[in-house]
């Protein structure tokens, strides 16, 4: 049997061959291998490549290049945005769990608003802040996965420091109304962080129009390398952003560490290519997704997870009533799909994102996430539909 059909592009994408070639040119003695912090010619050449990549990445999300910080990926970007904003906020100083008056409850250092369906790198960063004495409100999405901007407004408090809401959900692909949420936040001069790992490269993104103050994205979701990402930081928020890493002063003191030139160059080119391909690729993936859903929706008990329209092209999450998810996944040997987010798939627990939509444990556990990408063709979709129909029927026939 040949390699399975890859339908897990939301987990990661293969590196574009042009990107790989550009990266290779930054590794060896004949290439641009210098340390961008060095003052000599090798360093200057590397710095030029890094700044060109910064401009390429910034162009994809509509921000000035100077407002972009390189990181190791979206997880670090999310951590830097949330931990850095909270710890660095002017009103949040003071030791962790410090008590106000003698014998009183520990003083709350500040308040963060996020949502239950966020990526683990956001939720776990928020949990860490709770342990440090911050309060966090976790909003529940509606049954289609959307966060109501008015629910954000209702959650804001006098001590709210930051709101963190993802742009497109990694499991169900639903796109939030970030502009409306940003308007709510800015009425009270509260910063908004947006995890854009799944939206950049799939839909047009303009952080200025969205109103995001901090915006995370990563290379490996858009045919770039793993291990590099970026955080957009609006100039007004930069002073309050406390770094997580210290030593070296790179990235204007916000993110220390020698810049991985080959990764950054690859990321930059991947962004440029994604921007160029987007106008044709987005509608193509939308058509393929519609074809997939047409094929699957004919199965009894197949339910689409998330809003039917407000979604990024290329991500479809479906649950199958009465079918055990692990067996379904194991039976689909000709497909590489996910039974939830890859970050969460080691766990036997049903997806917390789907549970937050109100799906019961069995339905949540029976879900499959199909995520399509550049190499996906109509015949792949037809193969996927046939395979899923076969396995769902086989497992249902074996079930009590």
């Amino acid at each position: 049997m040949g390699a399975p059909i890859y339908l897990d592009y939301a987990a990661t994408t293969p590196v574009d061959a042009r990107v790989a070639a550009a990266m290779r040119a930054c590794l060896t003695v004949r290439g641009t291998f210098g340390n961008p912090a060095s003052g000599h010619a090798y360093g200057r050449a590397a710095r030029e490549r890094v700044e060109r990549a910064r401009a390429q990445a910034a162009a994809l999300i509509g921000c000035p290049a100077a407002d972009l910080i390189w990181t190791s990926g979206a997880t670090e970007s999310n951590n830097l945005a949330i931990l850095g904003s909270a710890r660095g906020a002017p009103g949040a100083c003071g030791a962790s769990g410090a008590r106000g008056a003698k014998g009183a409850e520990p003083a709350i250092r500040g308040h963060i608003v996020t949502a239950r369906g966020e990526h683990k790198s956001v939720l776990d960063a928020c949990r860490a802040l709770e342990r440090e004495g911050f309060a966090v409100s976790y909003l529940l999405p509606d049954r289609e996965g959307l966060i109501d901007p008015q629910a954000v407004r209702a959650a804001l408090r006098a001590d709210t420091l930051l709101v963190s809401i993802m742009h497109a959900n990694n499991e169900i692909g639903v796109v939030q109304d970030i502009a409306a949420i940003a308007a709510v936040c800015h009425e009270r001069d509260i910063g908004l962080h947006v995890d854009g790992a799944q939206s950049v490269g799939r839909i047009p993104v303009d952080v200025t129009r969205l109103g995001a103050d901090l915006f995370s994205f990563t290379a490996h979701k858009l045919y770039g390398p793993k291990g590099v990402g970026a955080l957009y930081v609006a100039p007004a928020r930069r002073a309050a952003l406390q770094p997580l890493l210290h030593g070296g002063g790179q990235e204007r003191g916000v993110r220390a560490g020698t810049l991985p030139v080959h990764q950054i160059v690859g990321f930059g080119l991947a962004c440029e290519l994604a921007g160029a391909l987007l106008p044709a690729e987005a509608p193509r993936l939308e058509r393929l997704c519609a074809r997939l859903w047409r094929g699957l929706s004919g199965l009894e008990g197949a339910l689409l997870n998330g809003h039917p329209v407000r979604r990024v092209p290329g991500i479809l999450n479906v649950c199958f009533a009465g079918v055990e998810g692990e067996s379904l996944l194991a039976g689909l040997t000709e497909l590489a799909v996910s039974s939830g987010s890859a970050c969460n798939s080691d766990s036997e627990e049903p997806s917390y994102v789907l549970r937050a939509l109100g799906r019961d444990a069995q339905l949540a556990q029976s879900s499959l996430r199909f995520s399509l990408g550049r190499a996906t063709r109509a015949r792949d979709i037809d193969t996927a539909v046939a395979a899923v129909r076969r396995e769902v029927r086989r497992l249902r026939a074996a079930a009590p």
Binding site: E324, S327, A336, D380
Partner: protein, 155 residues
């Protein structure tokens, strides 16, 4: 270009063939994969004829992730036909399939099916799945009743 990932080409200086997705190790293991792929004993036994009995038993709950039902057609002191229905992980389904195959032709009372820990060993089922196998054992015990497996160990 198709959706099939193209890997496994020669890697630069290393000169070794990269592991392709098609050759990646199957986490289920060979025995479980074979059984899981061919659930030929899934279903219900045919209705019993004269001088035959049908034994049935069920355990587990769908909402807990595992539910198993066995039905056995018994005649002349032997299991003539063994069928099961199961909702559960691939290990659960494979183990039911394996046990059903072993049950057919077995003489009552059943003395040869060992215990779940040995089933796990025989099929290379990871220890963390033992709980699923205990549900299967409960279903078998419920089906076989007095003609059951060896007695449960006492505490």
């Amino acid at each position: 270009m198709s959706g099939r990932a193209t890997q496994g080409r020669r890697t630069g200086g290393a000169g070794r063939r990269a592991r392709s997705p098609a050759r990646a190790r199957d986490p289920l293991g060979e025995a479980v994969r074979l059984l899981f792929s061919d659930l030929r004993h899934a279903g219900e036994v045919r209705s019993a004829r004269a001088a035959e009995r049908v034994l049935g038993g069920e355990a587990g709950r769908t909402e807990h992730g595992t539910r198993v039902r066995f039905s056995l057609r018994v005649a002349a002191g032997r299991v003539r036909e063994a069928r099961y229905r199961a909702y559960g992980c691939p290990y659960t389904l494979a183990c039911c399939e394996w046990l059903a195959g072993r049950l057919e032709g077995a003489r009552l009372p059943i003395r040869t099916l060992d215990e779940p820990a040995r089933w796990a060993l025989a099929l290379s089922i990871p220890p963390e799945r033992l709980g699923r196998l205990l549900v299967i054992e409960d279903a078998l015990r419920a089906a076989l009743g007095a003609e059951a497996l060896p007695p449960e160990p006492t505490a």
